[in-house]
Structure formats: structure tokens, C-alpha cells
């Protein structure tokens, strides 16, 4: 395959991944690496490097829009970024020591878990509880605009959230994904932050988290410009398109279809890893 054909095909695939990722809220990164590794036979380390670059682009692009809407809790984001960036750094160093087949297996397991999470319905938001002393001390409690006026919320279980965030950062650095699913889990389930605030703050943090591991990947020679270029531009265009149509689309069934695709890719990655074909 010539560079021109390869570039155009990878750009088209990344565009679809970015589009579906934005539409379903699952992010494009999670399907990018298996797409590159399985369909385009790219070495998984190059694939992870390119995906990381795309993750920074989409997260920063979307965060720019969300931050101005006033849902993002910047203090929660900054505080938890201590955990995610340290995690990302350890994940990136871990990635340089783990053999490619093992990386593929870990990736497959994460894909299966993401598929499970996205197909599950969310429990109802809990009633407002007492303010947590640690969260109050750290000034994490916040508010956001609703049609019926400003709603205040109290953040809870800070240590559990912080620990989960370190894990999310490690996965992000190890696999080149945004790991938005784990970040939302930490904020929405553990710390009891309202869902809309969790998703926008998670997105706000993804760019910084990915930048923390991208530096290590760049210095280790894992980021190839010829591959990163179509991936970054394709995902960016796809996700911009996705957020445009998001308002009109029925995403429930689409999420389910995407979850099935992710699960299939997960099984495929585990199989390739076990049989050493990656």
C-alpha cells in the first residue's frame, strides 16, 4: 500500500471512529488502537502513540466548548489531575516494558469492560447528602446552571475518587486512550458528582492526562508523524461532526451498537494477544 492510500484510508477510519465516539460519548480513542492494529496491521506501540495524540486533540477541542457552558468544575479537575498525570506517567513507563502481546490482552480486557459499562443503564442520581469535610476543605463543592436556576452539589469520598483517578491515568498512559469511562465512574459513582459535571470535567482532564504520557511516548520514538497525522486530523473532524449532530440523534440504540462493536474488538485483541499475532 502506498503512503497516499494508507493515509486516506486511516483518515477515513479515524473520522468514523471520532464521529461515533462523540455521538455515543464513549470517545474515539478506545476503537482507534484496535482499528489500526487489526485492520491496518500497525504495530500496537505506533498505534497507541497516534491514538494518544488524537485523544489530546478531541479532548481539548470539546473542553473549549464545555468550559464556557459552566458545567466543568475546574477545581475538581485540577485536583484530580495530580492523580491522573502521575498515573499517566507510570502507565507510559510501564508501556515501554510490557511486550506487545500482553498490551493487546490488557487492551482487550479494557474494551470488554467499556462495552459492559456503556450497555448498562445508570442508577438514579443520589439525593443530596451532608457536605464532606475533606471536600469542603479542598473547595471541591460546586454548582451548575439548570433551567430552574443554579443547582449546588457536594462532592464526597475524595480518597476513593483520587485512587480511581490514578488508575484511570495509568490505563490512559499504558493504552493511549482517554479512559473517560473510568474517570466518569470515579466522579459520578464514587464522588457523587452530577453526571453532566462528571462528563465535562472528565473531558477537561483527558487532554492533560494524555499530554503527561505523550511526552514520554514522543521521547521514546513511539509517535510517528506519518501515522499520527491522518489519525489526529480524521478523529478531530469526526468528533466535531459528531458533536454537531449530537443534539438531534437518538443515541440510545447507537450506544448499544457501538458497545457490541467494542466488545467484538476486545475479543479480537485478546485472541491476537494470546496467539502472539500482534
Amino acid at each position: 500500500m502506498s503512503v497516499l492510500v494508507f493515509t486516506l484510508l486511516v483518515a477515513a477510519g479515524s473520522l468514523v471512529a471520532g464521529f461515533l465516539g462523540a455521538l455515543t460519548g464513549l470517545g474515539g480513542g478506545v476503537v482507534l488502537v484496535p482499528l489500526l492494529a487489526i485492520l491496518f496491521k500497525v504495530d500496537i506501540r505506533y498505534a497507541i502513540g497516534a491514538s494518544l495524540v488524537a485523544v489530546i486533540a478531541t479532548s481539548s477541542g470539546a473542553a473549549a466548548a464545555y468550559v464556557k457552558e459552566g458545567f466543568t468544575n475546574i477545581r475538581v479537575g485540577m485536583f484530580l489531575e495530580i492523580a491522573t498525570t502521575l498515573g499517566a506517567l507510570s502507565g507510559a513507563f510501564l508501556a515501554t516494558r510490557i511486550p506487545a502481546p500482553a498490551l493487546a490482552i490488557v487492551f482487550g480486557l479494557v474494551l470488554l469492560y467499556s462495552a459492559y459499562l456503556s450497555s448498562r443503564t445508570r442508577p438514579l442520581p443520589p439525593a443530596n447528602e451532608e457536605p464532606d469535610p475533606l471536600a469542603t476543605r479542598l473547595k471541591l463543592n460546586g454548582s451548575f446552571p439548570t433551567p430552574n436556576g443554579v443547582r449546588h452539589y457536594f462532592v464526597r469520598r475524595v480518597p476513593a475518587g483520587f485512587g480511581l483517578m490514578f488508575g484511570a491515568g495509568t490505563l490512559s498512559g499504558l493504552l493511549g486512550i482517554g479512559s473517560g469511562a473510568v474517570k466518569v465512574l470515579a466522579m459520578d459513582q464514587a464522588m457523587r458528582i452530577p453526571f453532566k459535571v462528571s462528563t465535562t470535567t472528565s473531558n477537561f482532564m483527558i487532554g492533560v492526562t494524555a499530554a503527561a504520557s505523550a511526552g514520554v511516548y514522543l521521547r521514546r520514538g513511539y509517535i510517528d508523524p506519518g501515522l499520527a497525522m491522518p489519525v489526529m486530523l480524521g478523529v478531530l473532524a469526526g468528533s466535531l461532526l459528531g458533536t454537531r449532530v449530537l443534539v438531534k440523534a437518538q443515541t440510545r440504540s447507537l450506544r448499544l451498537v457501538f458497545a457490541v462493536v467494542i466488545a467484538i474488538l476486545g475479543v479480537e485483541m485478546i485472541y491476537k494477544g494470546l496467539s502472539g499475532k500482534i
Partner: protein
């Protein structure tokens, strides 16, 4: 001094939003420019990413990438765009240090400085 005195979270959010948008836009433009050069010059060459070789040292650090860009190498220009993209969240964090300092929030200045040093360590190495 009146602008500084009335500094609010909302103002910070607005500037951060613009900063992120500008960074991504600039990076995408540089990558696109490099892409055109790269495809015109090397479009016919075979593409093969099956075997991991690692990038040449020139494309691994800031100085090498800048040198490649000055010499007009297509892959160097794309890598410069990638570097600008990685720098965007770093600049955002650096701005947050400044914004929290204006709000006289010493605790968050320290938190943000920790994040900034992790990022600098990752990008520039020990």
C-alpha cells in the same frame, strides 16, 4: 489593578476555553501543512508500520523537531504540530497557576504547580 481585583472563575473559564481552541486550531493547521508536503513528496512510497523501529532521534525531542522544521522536512513539520498539540494542555495548566494566584488561592496554586511539573518532566525528561 481593577481587572485583577475582580478576577473570577468565570473569567478563567473563558480564557481557558479560548486557549484550548486556539492551540488545537494552530496544531491542526501546522499538521495539515506538513501533511500536504509529506503526501506530495512521499505519497508514492510504500507505507509499512508492521514492524516497530522507533522514530529517529531527531523526531523525538524539541530541538531536533525544530531543526527538521527549519530545514523544511515534511515529517518534522507534522511533528511540530504534534508538539504544539501536546503543549496546549501544558499551557492551559500554566495559565491556571497564574489564575489561581490572582484569586489568591494558595492551595490550588500548589496543586496546579504539581501537575505542571509532572507535565514538564514528561515532556523534557529528567
Amino acid at each position: 489593578m481593577t481587572i485583577w481585583a475582580k478576577w473570577t472563575d468565570q473569567k478563567t473559564e473563558e480564557i481557558i476555553g479560548n486557549l484550548l481552541r486556539a492551540g488545537v486550531l494552530l496544531a491542526a493547521m501546522v499538521v495539515s501543512a506538513g501533511a500536504i508536503l509529506y503526501l506530495v513528496r512521499h505519497g508514492e512510497a510504500p507505507a509499512d508500520y508492521r514492524i516497530f523501529r522507533g522514530e529517529p532521534t531527531d523526531l523525538r525531542h524539541v530541538r531536533g523537531i525544530l531543526k527538521n522544521t527549519r530545514e523544511g522536512h515534511a515529517r518534522g513539520i507534522i511533528q511540530l504540530g504534534v508538539l504544539l498539540l501536546i503543549a496546549t494542555p501544558v499551557v492551559r495548566v500554566a495559565f491556571s497557576v497564574f489564575a489561581f494566584a490572582l484569586e489568591k488561592d494558595r492551595m490550588y496554586v500548589i496543586f496546579t504547580l504539581i501537575v505542571l511539573s509532572v507535565l514538564m518532566y514528561s515532556l523534557l525528561g529528567a
